[in-house]
Symmetry: C2
Subunit: 228 residues, 2 copies
């Protein structure tokens, strides 16, 4: 069975991405980061998703991005709330974590090489998104090119790095539909940047607003909202 | 004063690289990784080098590459000893750490962005080296290109990422000479992959052998050998 490393934050997008990798016949090695994020609740969600979707292994790796700071997700800076839809995605917001996907993909690449696979899945989306530069197709292509020069296995011709981005062209509603089609229960997932202590979503950050828009446009209820 | 992030392992090469950044007028932010390496003694050396060479800040960042494994530097695999010179560099050895420079440069990029600089120094060398793929000029160029698509500051035109590799074309003897010229005392540094418990170099791993070759060709004694 072919192996793949799948980045898994525990949000709806990365969980759906993992389900796509399973559907496509991969044995999935799920990789989650404990990086000092204020929404650590997502790590518990990631553990549940990995188990429910049958990941072969789930590694929660510590990378101390909070020591670097520069983001509302790793410092006490306030997380923006109640932003109008036209603002989300127009500018890169303070929830941007410097070079986060580059750090995450670099670690995924390291693990992929030890697993002797070049297949890496990441649930980035460049349509209904927060405007982060490291979610765009041109960035992903440049990472892939670099990765094929970076590793022993690629240089020796034993693997070819391929960064799979099955959600990149989907709307948030499309992701909701795909999730349901693939048996992902959105109740397992966690999207909120600034949850209450017990993990209940705030309902007002960009991540909550984008998620709500997706469910509304897909015409299905979000179990997290029903429960909230 | 212009700022730069400088990767600093505590070895002779990265210490010399840091000295070049200082000579070139940069305020240096030194970045060292505690990644589960067996030669943790290099972290103490890095602290000394950062202090002696006047780094503005020194961050020792934890990244758990040992959880991924795949290398003799992060697992109990034996470190090769007494390899003949013609073997070193001919094949990528088991001391290769999967995607290590990609992980390190990704973290350097994250810190650089929060420091509002695009200047990153790395002491890679593609001449007298162990044959690691992520030390070659084509890899560095591909990383730089990716980095300029990855970050908010680069995309918004506020910084241009430049990966400085001042040692890439030097022989090991050339690095020794440059180190002495710039006031780097080799006694501060630590190169050995497999030191004795008190940090004394083994004298037989690739890193020790390359270092010895460099000092011999430069015609100067290595204070670590004299002390050993």
């Amino acid at each position: 069975m072919k192996r793949a490393v799948c980045l898994l934050s525990g949000g709806l997008d990365s969980s759906t991405c993992l389900a796509v990798a399973r559907r496509d016949g991969f044995e999935v090695y799920a990789l989650t980061f404990d990086y000092g994020q204020r929404h650590r609740h997502e790590i518990a969600a990631a553990r549940r998703v990995a188990r429910e979707l049958g990941a072969a292994q789930h590694l929660v790796m510590r990378v101390d991005l909070a020591a670097i700071g520069g983001s509302a997700l790793t410092t006490p800076l306030p997380v923006p709330k109640d932003r109008p839809p036209e603002e989300i995605g127009a500018h890169i917001p303070v929830t941007y974590v410097p070079a986060r996907n580059t750090v995450f993909l670099a670690c995924a690449l390291a693990w992929a090489e030890t697993l002797e696979t070049g297949d890496i899945f990441i649930g980035v989306n460049a349509l209904d998104y927060s405007g982060y530069p490291d979610c765009r197709p041109e960035y992903i292509e440049a990472f892939e090119r670099m990765a094929n020069l970076a590793t022993k296995a690629a240089v020796e011709g034993r693997m070819r790095v391929k960064i799979h981005t099955p959600l990149i062209g989907l709307s948030k509603a499309g992701i909701v539909r795909l999730a349901l089609e693939l048996g992902v229960d959105p109740a397992w997932t966690h999207s909120c940047y600034d949850p209450e202590p017990q993990g209940r979503p705030c309902g007002r950050c960009d991540a909550c607003l984008l998620r709500r828009k997706g469910f509304a446009e897909a015409g299905v209820p979000d179990p997290l909202e029903l429960r909230g």
